[in-house]
Amino acid sequence: MEKKKGMTRREFLVSTGAATGGALVAASIGPFVHTTMAKGKTLRVCSYGGSYQESQRKAFFQPFADKFGVKIVEASGGDIAKIKAQVDNKQYEWDVVDLETRHVARGELENLLEPIDTSVVDLSEIDKKAIRKCAVGNIFWTTSLAYNKEALAGKKAAGNWADFWNVKGFPGPRALQDQAPFNLEFALIADGVPMDKLYPLDVDRAFKKLDQIKDSITVWWKNGAQQIQLLTSAEAVYSSAWNGRVNVAQKKGVPLEIVWQGGCLDLDWWCVPKGDPNKDLAMKFIDFALSAKRQGEQMQKYIAYGPTNKDAFKYITPERAKELPSYPENLKKQFQMDADYWGPKLAPLTERWKTWMIS
């Protein structure tokens, strides 16, 4: 609103610099373009990079581009702050964004995301847990207890969060993530709260339980690469970790194990920034990427996350299915992160978490 017109135009040009002239025209008259005019258009997708985005490139981006003659421009590292900047200034850099739950919850609270167009996106085969007003789940992933089997040197491994809290019974350096979400839940599970009765969280009880283990945690990890580095080097024998990363390390021969019991099932979501002129094509892409066949190929061949399309397991071998978070046997042992609980609570609980950390 306060931005000067000249700035807007230049930033707009920079953001679409790689796109063709046709795409520029298409983007500026976006609201009037129908998906039948998809040919020659550009779809800008933002995901999280690395082997994850690679799996999406092979399973979704390339097949979609080939089938509809659309050019896909990729970006990575999306978050709701960058979407807010785009929506506030009406300069869209992304049409489809892969987002974590906390960003989706915040985005829905602040009206920054387009509602999913159910006339385009077929949700009939999609797991109920993966359907929200402004987002559809794209993968299930799990944050759970993982350990380095070799570093235990034959000692019995911790099998749940109560064991993780039992520092004497299951010795070894430990790590957790430096954030409130997940950890409060894990503490309550360790304290005996049944997994279906976690929310709303008994925050005081969770922090009290965390007090018990605070000084036994050698590392509070901050990013995804760190957890695997810690476990691999046995700097931490036990750590909370993301199942996909653990799986990649296992395939490389690192002796890591994941404990599904007490894991926190979470999702990544497909979203469209509010007011994106290219939203019709974006919805069409989301529908395409949600199909059983596409998800089945992604999970079977490229990455060990869980499909949100219930029929995708038809395209996944039984051996592979056992490694995935939404495999029914694994699913039973986990609880789902409650995004609507965390949405409004994230700010106060993050402050309380950080206060607890430094004291």
Partner: protein, 292 residues
């Protein structure tokens, strides 16, 4: 006639000294205003209007125990790392000044090379050196000096080591350039007049290198205030930096007005330190010190 030549003279003069210089400086000036002054003023405005004028974000910062504590932790870690970088950087510059040109060039090349290596790579290298079964602990255990690994990482020590490593060149170079401009005969003269080596250092060399110390330390301290990747990777639970909390407010919580207030407070701390420096050492020494 006279007045005309005077005015054309003046115009020519103005053209020579002022306008041309202004032209030369203007690209940098425009870039600074567009990329620096404008965004910073926007941050200030954002912190004060939500949507009407309010000081509530500043009030919240100063009433919350979390933010005050983290600000002190940030300042403390910045002071500590500036000090260790200063000691190491000074010794390095001192030795380099007196080294043979061949040796000196190898050292200078090594320092410049370390500039070119990514911050993350350098942080992860320190993890390999300092971790529980890392290089240092393995060597000490191998020779039976220790039985249990020392805790060198994920605490204050780890942060100070990692940040010092990054900051040493920023301090060593200004001191080195000041020392290169220093006449070594002054030291000889002092010793000739009966000063011990220690006296020579404290009363001749050290005072002459002060501009380099001031410039390097100021630069590093201000950089340290905004650091957060290294404390996040090498620190423990208590090594939380203000910039880390700002990032959480921006990215996860979308509380941009409060994040702007926090950034402004950090900026004010920086300006206060710059002001103190300017008051006692003079800002022109910053540039003069580097040049001579």
């Amino acid at each position: 006639m006279k007045s005309r030549s005077f005015s054309s003279n003046r115009a020519r003069l103005w053209q020579k000294a002022g306008f041309r210089h202004f032209l030369l400086v203007s690209p940098a000036l425009v870039a600074l205003i567009l990329l620096f002054a404008y965004p910073i003023s926007r941050i200030l405005v954002k912190s004060l209007f939500d949507p009407h004028f309010t000081l509530k974000h500043y009030a919240y910062f100063f009433s919350s125990p979390l933010y005050i504590r983290v600000m002190w932790i940030t300042i403390e870690l910045s002071v500590l790392t500036t000090f260790t970088a200063l000691v190491i950087g000074y010794i390095l510059a001192y030795v380099l000044r007196r080294a043979r040109p061949g040796v000196r060039n190898i050292f200078l090349l090594a320092i410049v090379l370390s500039f070119m290596i990514s911050l993350l790579v350098r942080n992860y290298s320190w993890i390999l050196v300092l971790q529980r079964n890392g290089v240092i602990n393995s060597i000490l255990e191998h020779f039976g000096i220790i039985n249990h690994p020392l805790k060198l990482l994920h605490n204050k020590l780890g942060v100070i080591v990692g940040m010092t490593h990054i900051f040493v060149p920023y301090i060593a170079f200004p001191i080195y350039s000041v020392m290169m401009g220093m006449d070594l005969n002054l030291e000889k003269a002092a010793q000739n007049l009966g000063a011990s080596r220690w006296q020579t250092f404290w009363r001749v060399t050290f005072p002459l290198s002060l501009p380099g110390i001031g410039a390097g330390a100021l630069l590093v301290f201000i950089m340290a205030l905004g650091f957060f990747i290294t404390p996040a990777l090498l620190g423990g639970r208590k090594e939380q930096m203000l910039s880390n909390l700002i990032q959480i407010q921006v990215v996860d919580l979308l509380n941009w007005p409060f994040a702007s207030a926090m950034s402004t407070i950090l900026l004010v701390v920086t300006l206060v330190i710059f002001f103190i420096y300017n008051r006692f050492l003079g800002a022109e020494r910053l540039w003069g010190g580097v040049r001579t």
